[in-house]
Symmetry: none
Subunit: 221 residues, 2 copies
């Protein structure tokens, strides 16, 4: 289960700590930036499953950033970090469309639990994705409504592909994403996993969900 999270935090030390900690807790940190403009610039077609945004950013207020995301049609849940615990901040945070907030200083474990809760809720309530997507809670893929059980490695590999839906993902990127850092992965191993994924995902009538881009990598529609 690899929910992806984007972090927007200007305190470099805190941001690094969050990235490392969340990775250890099984999140994929798909984006980690210091400010709002960087977030909006770096946001790919597929948004992360959840945002962590500091309310006190140097370039733009976290609440405004939240509004900007919503205006762009991004409906992934947002957790606001606020240094000031005052009620006013909390309320305006909710008014801006944020789904939760956490006053600093906070316990890291609590952040993780809140994020999991948001992913759990948000993932289900989000716009119904058509075709192929991952059910994080059930730890399986869903293709045309059909549930497909996946092993941990298969799951990470498909997640890496879906994180860049519509793009070609290079072979070494897939290996970096789906295998532990530093692991030595034979080239054929990746091939074998793609085959397994195809066999599990593909219906009878359907052409393959994963397309090969010879010499580069793979992509999903």
């Amino acid at each position: 289960m690899t929910p992806s999270v984007a972090i927007v935090e200007d305190d470099l030390a805190l941001r690094a700590g969050l990235s490392r900690g969340l990775r250890e807790e099984g999140f994929e940190v798909s984006l980690s930036v210091a400010g709002g403009t960087a977030l909006l610039r770096g946001l790919k077609d597929l948004p992360p499953d959840v945002f962590v945004i500091d309310i006190g950013l140097p370039d733009v207020d976290g609440r405004d950033l939240c509004l900007a995301l919503r205006a762009r049609g991004v409906h992934a849940p947002v957790l606001l970090l606020t240094a000031r615990g005052g009620i006013t901040d909390r309320l305006s945070g909710f008014h801006s469309g944020a789904d939760d907030y956490l006053p600093k200083p906070f316990h890291f474990e609590e952040l993780v639990l809140r994020l999991r809760a948001l992913v759990r809720r948000g993932g289900k309530a989000a716009d119904p994705p058509s075709g192929l997507y991952l059910d994080l809670a059930a730890h399986e893929a869903r293709n045309a409504g059909r549930g497909v059980g996946l092993t941990p490695t298969e799951f990470r590999l498909l997640a890496a592909l879906l994180a860049h839906r519509g793009e070609v993902v290079r072979r070494h990127s897939l290996i970096a994403a789906a295998w532990p850092p530093g692991a030595i992965v034979h080239d054929n191993t990746l091939d074998a996993y793609v085959v397994r994924l195809r066999r599990k995902l593909d219906g009878i009538d359907q052409s393959s969900a994963i397309t090969t881009v010879r010499g580069i990598g793979y992509s999903v529609g």
Copy 2:
């Protein structure tokens, strides 16, 4: 539309205030009771859109009540009211399947905003209820109408699984939920308890109530 809310609070004055206030804010207070048994007895076929439950009830702990709701297949979001602001309470609240909490004393406006946020995110689609649920009073499980006595640890473990019915619960989450915080739990201990639960729960004809998700954890249908 008028979101409906159920209130479980033993403080009579607070409960009356909440009922009146939430009605003024456009909620329909479909149920307003003083304790957990009253809630479970009064729960109609159609559950409310959201629950507000005091953690310190006279007859049953709010977290256990939350577990009981989840175990009965009720997935409407739950907001726990807690007088104690300690981190332990917060965490165990989440482990019990609650979706949010609010430490007393709280601003009424904040409660309203949190409830609106919970309703907006909405409950998950009701999963097909299997005949498995927990009987808090008797401290036993019921499977297809058959009562099954459980030891305390077995009970907590099954409760943690049922709190996330239909989802895969990670091994370390189960350990965190079913054993005291900080306890060192051998990996095999969890395995052994799952075996015991299966043996107790599984009927003759039935396939196992608890399914293994290799490398991740377990889940119940």
